[in-house]
Symmetry: C2
């Protein structure tokens, strides 16, 4: 009986005793299909024969993993910051050295290995504010309203955390789009907040209709305390770019319904379609006049992971808060201080993104060439993806106006739906799993983002290099035709 | 009345409507005293005359900010990873290049700008596991049990989040030491969990007595659901190094009381006192036999921010989980995937820390020299700090056996305590604020870490360079004598 007391009690932490909110969290972008993809990669390495020779991960907006080359200037400065001995090296251009010196001077002890202020390095926040001012045609931005973050996700989760309170009918509810980027639903589940879903209009290129916001809000009132409205523009996973008019309508709605606005604008440079333009919520808010810009509370988010940089691994980002109650700001600053600071290399990287080489500087020409090449290629791939997918009977794809994804609708045969249900799988998960096993292409099923009942989609990045993208699209086409035939 | 509806409603998000748990969060290490220090720095810059010429931030374990130089090898590899063009450069030693190549090969697209797996880069996790095996005399470590994190804080918060559930008397409670590193109390407040405080024994060099654990647990039972026990070894802020016997006692206690163990071991290389040695909880657990190592659930944490590296800005770290329920592990992996991945430069840095230059490699000699210099200097400064502080009447300081801080007890005159209370300040906060204003030295009052009622302390890092540390200690001495005189 020596170990009797101990061994018969089982684990302290089990799925029965653990945090029930965490159990409710779902995040399809890195869900079961990706785990299977990783497994298949290992099987390929181990020599197991497959009908394909590599796994293509078109499930996540991970530009470098898909072969996009880093922007030279950004990486030069990061190398200089990491190993300042290189400041003596003639191989590095002067503007890169100047940026590195400026960043190092604002770091404790001149090292990116020191903690920064929890809100972020002051000179970086100043550069972010100036970037926003340039972007928004001179509308002022205050560095004190800028918080540097560990990717945009960190800022979004932090703001949601501040917003959540109450119990039962008083519990905070947050409006999010369907389809959505599942960080939102995951964070709300984790926080035990109520999700209010508003649907984007697939028939009208995934646009947002304020009447749908109103419908969703009316249906929720009485059961919960609606307090915030989240917008992703350009859209993820849906790729739409909101019109200026639409943004105005949304702001008016938020003002009238007394909602805190959260604008996820991480794809702000990723606008491809003719006639589309990125308008920041901040800019539109200020152009609507003091009635709005003096009252509407807004947090907007940006990141170093997307746009032309694609530097996901550095986890850089910022948020700007407008009209945040000063006492709440104190609380926000306190809250972020517990985690000490965002990663300093990511802060340095962000500084370069918001303060890139200028026309009179030596790195300018290369920088512009590299940036343009990335954005031009993305625009071509956005168009090609839409075109090819629309040639497949049973697939319809809205124009990829912006961001990095197509989100086509797929028609699935009744028999396939039935077989999926038998397996306890969402029909589009069943479809994507089969696609993965047969072609090595990893996509995320629409059910991971939310979609109208009875419709099915997948999200596919437009990031593979053009040659590979063509192969991917051809394989998807072939697979879809075979799948349809098999189950019809 | 055009804007009447909007303007009269006030803010959506106020301190009345915000998350009440966040309001309860306190984090003294970056609290009001540090904000005042930053303000004073700005005042100095603006030319305002002070009785000192610089602010010395001895409030936080930020080695590089205090002038410690980065380890050459670490930074060379980071520069190579950031800008792989440098792999062609003859200035870099081959071992640094090999490490960089190996890391880059395991990154998507060969770039540290790609997302990694959410659990961390596989080859880094393998290197961590091998490091743990070497450290613990061959006890096996499984890379699948390693999770790379954004600093140790991230791992600690994530594990606590998994552990928290229940309401009222069923609410999860977690045992933490007093004094403690305030991340713990902050995370518990944020999660709405119950804190069970056990006191370290100042009279016995801040050691941990299992009878005190028992007392604290008994007092809490019935009001809450005790589920985890957190240990910091070497101690923060208290600098004690736990004996092997003590660790065994703690593990036995956790086993008997059915508690999940969390071992914060970020100072594992920072052991200075003669006769003291670092023992990992993992190693002691396994040496206690299968009765224990097959049942006790343990998460241990490490970081790139402390030890000889002091690379706080990179936010690198890992946790190892032992006996975690496999289904809970699935939940943990899912939870960390929502934030995508820890910063990849931090992961790369961690890889170098756990896989440093070997005796037959070109960087070995310099690496050992630099590492030894840092650790030797810290040992000297630990001793000097203790010695000098103990020469001051009214200050008693335990030996700084390890970590990076002294936590001396200070005797405050009754009149000072009364004046502090009048101002609504903790007496040691009143003391530290006065010290800051008069000398520019920024310390953290003991009340920010917790202390026995009626006792007062401060935490001071031992990180300033020897010359400056001597000045700091002399100024603290002078201040304390003046303060005592003034209020006696």
């Amino acid at each position: 009986m020596e170990n009797g007391v101990i061994s018969h009690r089982g684990k302290v932490l089990t799925t029965d005793t653990m945090n029930p909110n965490v159990k409710k969290v779902e995040y399809a972008v890195r869900g079961p299909i990706v785990q299977r993809a990783v497994q298949i990669e290992k099987e390929l390495k181990a020599g197991i024969k497959k009908p394909f020779s590599e796994v293509i991960k078109a499930n996540i907006g991970d530009a470098h993993a898909m072969g996009q080359r880093p922007i030279t200037f950004l990486r030069q400065v990061l190398a200089l910051c990491s190993y300042p001995e290189l400041l003596k090296d003639n191989k590095f251009p002067e503007d890169a050295k100047n940026r590195a010196r400026r960043i190092l001077q604002s770091c404790g002890g001149g090292s990116i290995g020191a903690y920064s202020a929890s809100q972020g390095i002051e000179c970086v926040r100043q550069d972010v504010a100036r970037y926003i001012e340039r972007r928004d045609g001179g509308i002022p931005s205050d560095p004190d309203n800028i918080y540097l973050t560990t990717g945009a996700s960190d800022g979004i989760v932090t703001m949601l955390k501040l917003l959540v309170s109450g119990e039962g009918r008083g519990r905070t509810a947050v409006m999010i789009s369907i389809p959505q980027y599942p960080l939102y639903s995951a964070a709300l589940a984790d926080l035990g907040a109520v999700q209010i879903s508003y649907y984007l209009d697939e028939e009208r290129c995934w646009s947002l209709d304020v009447r749908e916001l109103q419908r969703a809000l009316n249906a929720a009132r009485g059961h919960c305390q609606p307090r915030a409205l989240c917008i992703i523009n350009p859209g993820n996973p849906t790729g739409q770019v909101q019109s200026r008019q639409c943004i105005e309508d949304v702001i008016r709605f938020a003002a009238e319904e007394h909602l805190f606005l959260m604008a996820d604008e991480v794809y702000q440079d990723n606008v491809y379609a003719e006639g589309c333009e990125f308008h920041s919520f901040k800019k539109v808010l200020f152009e609507m006049g003091p009635e709005y810009y003096k009252t509407v509370e807004l947090a907007s988010f940006h990141s170093t992971s997307k746009c032309y940089m694609g530097e996901c691994g550095f986890r850089g980002g910022y948020m700007e808060v407008i009209n945040l109650d000063p006492d709440v700001k104190v609380q926000l600053t306190k809250l972020v201080s517990v985690r000490l600071c965002p990663p300093v290399p990511g802060q340095a990287l962000l500084d370069l993104v918001v303060n890139p080489p200028q026309p009179d500087e030596p790195s300018y020409a290369t920088f512009i060439k590299e940036r343009t090449a990335v954005l031009t290629a993305l625009a071509e791939k956005a168009k090609l993806t839409e075109q090819i997918l629309n040639t497949v009977p049973g697939i319809t794809c809205n124009p990829v106006q912006g961001a990095m994804y197509s989100f086509p609708r797929i028609t699935l045969p009744e028999r396939a739906i039935a077989e999926a249900k038998e397996k306890g799988q969402a029909p589009d998960m069943f479809y994507c799993m089969k696609l993965l096993e047969e072609t090595g292409i990893c996509l995320v099923p629409g059910s991971g983002f939310g979609q109208r009942e009875g419709t099915f989609h997948f999200r596919m990045t437009i990031l593979p290099p053009m040659d590979k993208l063509k192969v991917v699209l051809a394989k998807v086409k072939e697979f879809h035709q075979g799948f349809t035939q098999q189950y019809s």
